[in-house]
Homo-oligomer: 265 residues x 2
Amino acid sequence: MHCFDNETNVTSTTAGSWQGMVSPEWNIGTNPNGGYLLSLITNALSRELSHPDPLSITTHYLRPGIPGAECSINVEILRIGKTVSNARATLYQENKARLEVMAVFGDLSQSVGIDTRIPMIPPKIPLPEHCVDRTGSLQGIELPIMNRLNVRLHPDQAKPGESEVPEISGWINFTDGREPDSRSLLLFCDAFPPSPFSFLGNVGWVPTVELTVHVRQKPLPGWVLGQFRTSDLADGRMIESGALWDSSGALVAQSRQLGLILNNN
Amino acid sequence: MHCFDNETNVTSTTAGSWQGMVSPEWNIGTNPNGGYLLSLITNALSRELSHPDPLSITTHYLRPGIPGAECSINVEILRIGKTVSNARATLYQENKARLEVMAVFGDLSQSVGIDTRIPMIPPKIPLPEHCVDRTGSLQGIELPIMNRLNVRLHPDQAKPGESEVPEISGWINFTDGREPDSRSLLLFCDAFPPSPFSFLGNVGWVPTVELTVHVRQKPLPGWVLGQFRTSDLADGRMIESGALWDSSGALVAQSRQLGLILNNN
């Protein structure tokens, strides 16, 4: 079994209740990565709902998770429809809610409407072998998650403060050869360095307040290309919009988050 | 009292429970507009939370609302923080959940982090007097909401199927002279014609599955400029991204929705 599946495993306790273990292997510093915690929740959701794919997932990050400790996940189904299902879920550790999620699940292998397509074209960036590895530490903060994920950044954006635009792009996959699926795209949307850093430098701590990911298509095997851009920043609050494309160049996810950029003191 | 405030009025019943009346004056055809229903909920949320402004509001549209009927709104507070508060809410009619909302409230008059600004520049479009009124009917469907809102569309995008891009832009305000505030921006994000129509024609019914609005700044009085674009469409599922600017040209909101484009039969 691959690390991602093993370390996001959840077991049912009572109806609508799930239990899991928050692995310390996906940390950013001393906190579990938000996309990893979300992956535990979407695992529970996918076991509760008959539709296989997360189409829209909104997460509120209420409190940091605790690495190396158990978690419980409560799922409440809001509506079961023919085309989509809606549910909400809460991840708890030590009796405190850490993440609150609202989810739409559906079936990406089925068309639900008109045939017309409007594609979103991937940016042209250097191939993975000409990109720069995201390193396993940042200003003295250890990033154990970089043992689980390969993240290779556009060479013009890899050094904080040197990009001409507040944008980060690059390639991502699992280090152990696990291929991407619709659920892992939620993790991939939260594993690149914050896009303001490429432009502004490492200006501060960037907590995510809310993240919404839309999965658009099942990804083919291979590297996933990601591009994330700060579309606006004011009074310490930023909106970052992102997109992922699979190895065939098809758009597979879009993301948008409200984040804060707090001062370093 | 202005129509919007009068027709989104809610009164407290028991702790966390609110009651209101869904006015038929905000209908699109026989259904209340989604942004109007959301405005009833955000009114209840703003009365429960000490932070004044909706920073991030995600809505799942579970079932159509019922015009001219009472509604009840249940609010659950998830976390009260110094910078932001989190809550969820459900709007019920006839004992069925219609809208499910997850909200982050904060105070837009306060900076919470670094001083650096990254602005999002408004598009250049013709002035309101050179734009085209959104009419009060569409293919035989009556739009009573157009008695409450002025929506003036870019002349190159007002006729379905004639735009070169799947985009709609124009100006919006209240017909009775009420000035915009942070709460009314949520309504304004859901009051323009669907952006695919400008490019594809009136191809079908476009129900919103999920809509997230980020309010970025309190708007100054005057017309609000909106621009909405279909960023991708596949298998009948589309992502539409939008933005609103106030009369000074400042970005005041961003929006993104997952919608379906269903066949007309």
